[in-house]
Amino acid sequence: MSQRGKRRSVFGRIRGSPYLFILPALVGLVFMVLYPFAFNIFITFTNMNIYHVRPCADIFAQATTGNSCYTINTDLFKNFVFVLTDPAFVQIMENSVIWTFSNVIPTVGLGLVLAFVLNSKVRGKTIYRLFMIVPWAMPSFITLLVWKGMYNYQYGIINALLSEIHIPSINWLESSNCFNPFLAIVIANIWLGYPFMMIIFSGALQSIPQELYEAASIDGATGITQMRHVTIPLIRPTIIVALLLGSIWTFNNFNSAYLITGGGPGICTTIFITQAYNQAFSYFSFAIAGTYAVIAFIILFVPGIFWTRYTGLTRSAA
């Protein structure tokens, strides 16, 4: 009896406190994500960099040279003006947009095709799938360095193969036209990205009940018709999620552009995220890096909201 009563009381206590359940995660989120986020917004209004690391006692004072502390800029939006009027900004923005689309569309397309092929009657599916998750399962900073070696003008295997079929060597990474280096990082990044899409779409295809196809064939629908009226409508939600999430991830993807070309030559392959990283860790202009991050957030907020709305992620089931 007492045992039972005790259990009830535990039950009652826990029942009344969903906040207690989310508290640990929320504390982590606040300190590791929301605080850095707010801090980043705050420093966009300051002159913080490697020489001005700590806040001044009088943070609203005019910045004086020789101080090792940072103050709020008299002209509040100085950093935004600096970034947005930077002659490089337009190209970086262009690069980021082209980068995102030229990666997401082929990875989603290739992932879809492979998922369809592997979902059809074909032998050795498991083996093929195993080989094809290698790009995803290998640490990307290792494989990207290999790609960099393969693109090498003199010693790289890609040019060696091209010369086998009598195509002159291509200067992949140091070409003065931006097309070659950009194509190089896009190819490597598609290689990295398609296995994930393939697995997502395989999952979606497998979750379509077989009865639907049977019903469709009884109604006389075959091949293309089945595809149009059964398969496509049922996996469309997954495709949309893959496109949205893929765009956000690709826009924020830093490894490929940074490790293969370092954003160069010039700013040929510099995208938003590598620019933010360089500002922070090469030039140590923390305020400018923060400004790039805030602008990136404003851009990503739109697909982010679409994704949230579309999937109903924050909708409660109750």
Binding site: P18, P24, A137
Partner: protein
């Protein structure tokens, strides 16, 4: 007449099978090709990218098979006796703590979001999605300042805590949708039988969500085992290095040690690959949460 159409169909089927396999073999080759280089360099003598020889003019193979790089990374010592076993231990310790921590944060939160209705639920769920839309690399600076105020830089806490939180925005929703997919009638039936909530949670719900817990663990594992950027900032002392930091060091000196680099890269990649094979089925469970319902 009939036999001819049957032959035509057979020919078409055979042709389509050949095309399919040709495509799949090509993609499989492209997928593993860069990794073949890592393997060939790791088992060839010399520290150069071009140590392997090419079979058929394209497939890299070790010029002479040797384990010298593996034995050299085992005997490598940096600073005051920091060595390979120590870095493996550091990496393992950090990764295990991060994975356990991440699951511990995710489970109760996912449960509450799925089974409860409370004030501020929408807002807090949305705030967990924010990190997806924010470039992660720039949060390193405020995190560093925070940890240096707390005197935690150069301790494992400075990486474990961010890793625990790092995958939260994905994993909470993976867990929420896992709990969503379990009918509430199960809870109610157990409640009528007099089981407390804690008991329902541990005995009934938890076993049913194991695939999703595996997915959450996998994402946390990847985030901490492979991370270089955060560890590079937080762990400066070489006795605290993780494997990616040690790996990076091979390419940092004037001369790049690609042989040793590849050997260590393989050692690092093998656990990831094993985890991937074991969890293949669960990899994307709940990733497209909600999308199936439209």
């Amino acid at each position: 007449m009939k036999s001819r159409s049957v032959t035509a169909r057979t020919v078409r089927r055979v042709a389509s099978t050949i095309v399919k396999h040709a495509f799949l073999i090509l993609m499989a080759l492209i997928s593993v090709y860069p990794v073949l280089w890592v393997i060939a360099i790791a088992f060839s003598p010399g520290e150069s990218l071009s140590s392997p020889t090419l079979a058929f003019g394209i497939i890299p193979v070790p010029s002479t098979f040797t384990l010298v790089h593996f034995s050299s990374i085992l005997s490598l010592t940096v600073g005051n006796g920091s060595n390979f076993p120590l870095w493996v231990r550091n990496s393992a310790l950090i990764t295990v703590s991060s994975v356990l921590g991440s699951v511990a944060l995710t489970l109760p939160a996912g449960y509450a979001f799925s089974r409860r209705k409370f004030r501020g639920q929408q807002a807090s769920m949305f705030s967990f999605l924010l990190p997806t839309m924010f470039p992660g690399v720039v949060t390193i600076i405020p995190q560093f300042l925070l940890f240096s105020t707390l005197h935690l830089v150069n301790t494992f806490f400075a990486v474990i805590i961010p890793y625990m939180v790092g995958s939260l925005s994905l994993s909470i929703f993976i867990m929420k949708s896992a709990f969503d997919s379990i009918p509430r009638e199960i809870d109610e039936a157990a409640m009528i039988d007099g089981a407390g909530e804690l008991r329902i949670f541990t005995r009934m719900l938890l076993p049913l969500t194991l695939p999703s817990i595996a997915t959450v663990s996998l994402w946390a594992f990847m985030g901490s085992w492979l991370d270089w950027a955060l560890a590079h900032v937080m762990l400066q002392d070489n006795s605290l290095w993780t494997l990616p930091l040690a790996l990076y060091a091979f390419l940092q000196s004037n001369y790049s040690y690609y042989g040793s680099f590849s050997a260590m890269a393989l050692v690092m990649a093998v656990p990831v690959f094993i985890v991937f094979i074991v969890f293949q089925k669960y990899l994307v469970t709940g990733l497209t949460a909600g999308s199936v319902k439209g």
